[in-house]
């Protein structure tokens, strides 16, 4: 076994039941590092153009990266990639937890899954052995029940299960793949793809593999892990660890950047009811006896940050089982401020439903918020909703609608298509209220304030995404906390607030390459990154070297990120998707925000369009079409992709 990775990829044909192992050379791993870039290699080489996202021709690729499983923070991540049934374009989503490390120990770096099984099955991979097993008895069951049955059936409580819930089975277009019953490959409907293939779960165990796992420089990894544990209390991620990502709710509110009432306002009066510190004080497990640091925080394999929430509510209408975790900032936002709901128990309950049934909390909450705005404006009525008063602030309606989507009931079935498809089906001008880019609902950061993030929302090949570049504030004047880190990337000229200068675009593009690389090597974006994260990009380089023994450089890592971005973009080009689809929601241009510090703000269309030109120019893509050029693809060793696109 090479250092860090297995050198083995398992190909699964669900139609024929055939399973085969490929052993790519070292150069393949260095070219892609794993994760999303590796997945894209298979989607571009093995999937026909214009495949039905929910048909057997779609390929679902699940892969870890070259550093996954090393005993250091932030490495246990797995990327799922397929054509998205939500967007019709490329889909891509990452998860953490213990599944990714266990998958590595089980003996494989990736599972490339094709076809459609005639009946429900699960893939069982145990220390290099693999088989498809009947999953008829698991079909229709929620995640926690499936985990319990599989623990019993396989006689091992240390197996890791990545599965779909009932929402994946019924192909809710934003169904997620869930592991540990509380970690998600959330976005772009990867769970629906899995459901369309009749694949209920992927189960991994690597008892022997864990013992055999070796890295090139063990002492350096130990030192790095110790260093991370030492610096975390004073680091910028200390708060995310202790109070969770919802700790940031207040700092968003104060600048008017907390998307509320379906993005009509940047402030929410009840924000304190749903923020991370309130969660810590009230519903985190152990809060009643002041032991929540011990009992209310969970982690991923070998990570010191411990940012995951464990919520327990035993009384009232919204009981929450700690097995299903607790909400992140994105979730408190979409079910909370997006919907005008200041009821933390209701938000935590909706989060639980999503984890039980397997749904993306962002798209689910945001789709309900969109429906609420339609309802408030008379475009949707109780005739549509089955009598539910789907108004902003109605916590009960928000929860009921979440359950109806999860179970495919009534109006919930329509909302399970995602807001863009639902708007198309309903008509009546409901598209006016959409907050989608590439048909994916926007996460809880506002382009009205974060202007370069708006460009990323619009252009990102898998739709609006907040984890594909560094946000604006870190490179704006009057904020120099990260000057030293950004200097390493030659980013030394902070720009005015809300600007979209060529230099601001350069910041977005360069940090996008880093984030793109991180989704390939598969590391956590709270632990590694260009500014506020625990470790800097230089330490990501160190990590890869310590694990693999490769004398790698930061520019080489960034090139992998750029390569992956171009592959995603090329996939979309092959599907006929180009600059025409690189848009922000119309309401962000037309409707000024109301209230708070961001009152009156909207996105300037002329500035935005000029920034798009600059973005394509800096990426060396065709400015008219936004499609990668042959010159650029060849420079990235992707000449074969240019051939495929006939450009």
């Amino acid at each position: 076994m090479p250092y860090g990775y297995n050198g083995k990829i398992l190909h699964v044909n669900l139609t024929s039941g055939e399973l085969t192992v490929e052993e790519p050379p070292e150069s393949f791993y260095r070219q892609y590092l794993g994760g999303s870039a590796l997945n894209m290699h298979y989607l571009l080489t093995q999937m026909p153009a214009h495949a039905d996202p929910l048909g057997p021709d779609n390929i679902l690729a699940l892969s870890v990266g070259v550093t996954t499983g090393a005993p250091v923070s932030g490495q246990s991540r797995m990327t799922s990639t397929a054509k998205s049934p939500l967007t019709g374009a490329i889909g891509d989503a990452q998860c953490g937890g213990f599944f990714p490390a266990e998958m590595k120990f089980a003996g494989f770096d990736a599972f490339i899954i094709k076809g459609r099984s005639p009946q429900p099955v699960y893939l069982w991979v145990n220390d290099g052995q693999y088989e498809l097993r009947d999953a008829s008895h698991l079909w229709g069951k929620i995640t926690g029940e499936v985990e319990a049955i599989l623990h019993e059936e396989l006689g091992d409580k240390n197996i890791e299960v990545a599965q779909i819930g009932p929402a994946g089975e019924t192909m809710v277009r934003y169904a997620a793949i869930i592991n540990m019953s509380n970690r998600a490959n959330g976005r772009t409907g990867m769970g629906a793809v899995m459901g369309s293939k009749n694949l209920k779960a992927v189960v991994v165990r690597g008892k022997k593999g864990k013992k055999k796992f070796t890295v090139a420089n063990k002492q350096a990894i130990i030192d790095m892990a110790r260093y991370g544990a030492k610096i975390i209390p004073e680091s910028d991620v200390a708060g995310l660890g202790k109070y969770g990502t919802a700790e940031t709710t207040g700092s968003q509110q104060v600048v008017g950047g907390l998307p509320s009432y379906n993005f009509n306002s940047g402030v929410f009066d009840e924000w304190e009811a749903i923020d991370g510190t309130t969660m810590y004080d009230t519903i985190l497990r152990g809060a009643d006896v002041d032991k929540q640091d011990l009992r209310g925080r969970d982690t991923c394999y070998s990570c010191t940050v411990r940012c995951k929430r464990v919520v327990e509510i035993t009384e009232g209408p919204y009981k929450v089982d700690p097995h299903y975790g607790g909400p992140e900032y994105e979730t408190t936002s979409t079910f909370g401020n997006y919907c005008g709901v200041g009821d933390l128990a209701a938000v935590a309950y909706a989060n639980q439903v999503c984890n039980q049934y397997g749904m993306d909390t962002i798209s689910c909450g945001a789709t309900i918020a969109w429906a609420m705005e339609c309802f408030e404006n008379g475009k949707i009525t109780t005739d549509d909703t089955g009598g539910i008063e789907l108004k902003f602030g109605n916590a009960e309606a928000m929860v009921t609608m979440t359950e109806m989507i999860a179970r495919g009931e009534g109006f919930g079935q329509l909302l399970g298509l995602g807001s863009a498809a639902a708007a198309e089906a309903i008509g009546r001008g409901t598209e006016e209220y959409l907050i989608t880019s590439h048909k994916q609902e926007a996460p809880a950061h506002m382009p009205q304030l974060k202007s370069s993030l708006g460009v990323i929302y619009a252009t990102n090949p898998f739709g609006a995404d907040h984890q594909s570049s560094e946000h604006d504030a870190a490179y704006e004047k009057d904020f120099d906390s990260y000057a030293e880190r950004l200097k390493v990337l030659d980013l030394t000229q902070p720009q005015p607030k809300r600007s979209l200068t060529p230099e601001k675009i350069r910041y977005a593009v360069q940090t996008q390459y880093i984030y793109s690389a991180m989704d390939s090597v598969n590391v956590c974006q709270f632990v590694y990154g260009p500014t506020w994260q625990l470790f800097h990009v230089d330490q990501l380089r160190d990590l890869i070297e310590y694990v693999t023994g490769w004398d790698i450089t930061v520019p080489e890592i960034m090139t992998v990120g750029e390569r992956r971005l171009n592959m995603l973009r090329a996939f979309n080009a092959r599907e006929g998707i180009d600059r025409e689809q690189d848009k922000l929601p119309e309401k962000m241009f037309k409707k000024a925000l109301k209230g708070g510090r961001s009152d009156g703000l909207k996105v300037d269309r002329a500035q935005f369009e000029a920034a798009l030109d600059e973005y394509y120019r800096q990426n060396e893509w065709d400015i008219e079409t936004g499609i990668p050029t042959r010159h650029k693809l060849e420079a990235l060793d992707l000449g074969w992709v240019a051939e495929m696109l006939k450009i």
Binding site: D236, K242, E247, T277
Partner: protein, 76 residues
């Protein structure tokens, strides 16, 4: 003058745990937000709100103001 201070998120840890981030400070007239930050020995980058509205660190405080402090993180 008296200023009611609420520290959010990790900034709460600059006060004893039972305080849950809340304290009242007595400051001389003309004191600014930055002096509160200094007095509480907060070493992190912060953003501030006075009476619910974003405020700069050189903002002069008034008696009975509600001051909220947040850790300033540049990213998402």
């Amino acid at each position: 003058m008296k200023i009611n201070v609420t520290l959010h998120g990790i900034l709460r840890d600059y006060l004893p745990r039972p305080a849950k981030g809340k304290t009242t400070l007595t400051l001389p007239d003309g004191a600014r937000v930055a002096e509160v930050v200094q007095q509480l020995n907060i070493t992190r980058s912060v953003s501030a709100a006075v009476n619910g509205e974003e405020a700069e660190l050189d903002r002069v405080l008034q008696d009975d103001d509600q001051l909220q402090l947040f850790q300033l993180i540049g990213g998402g």
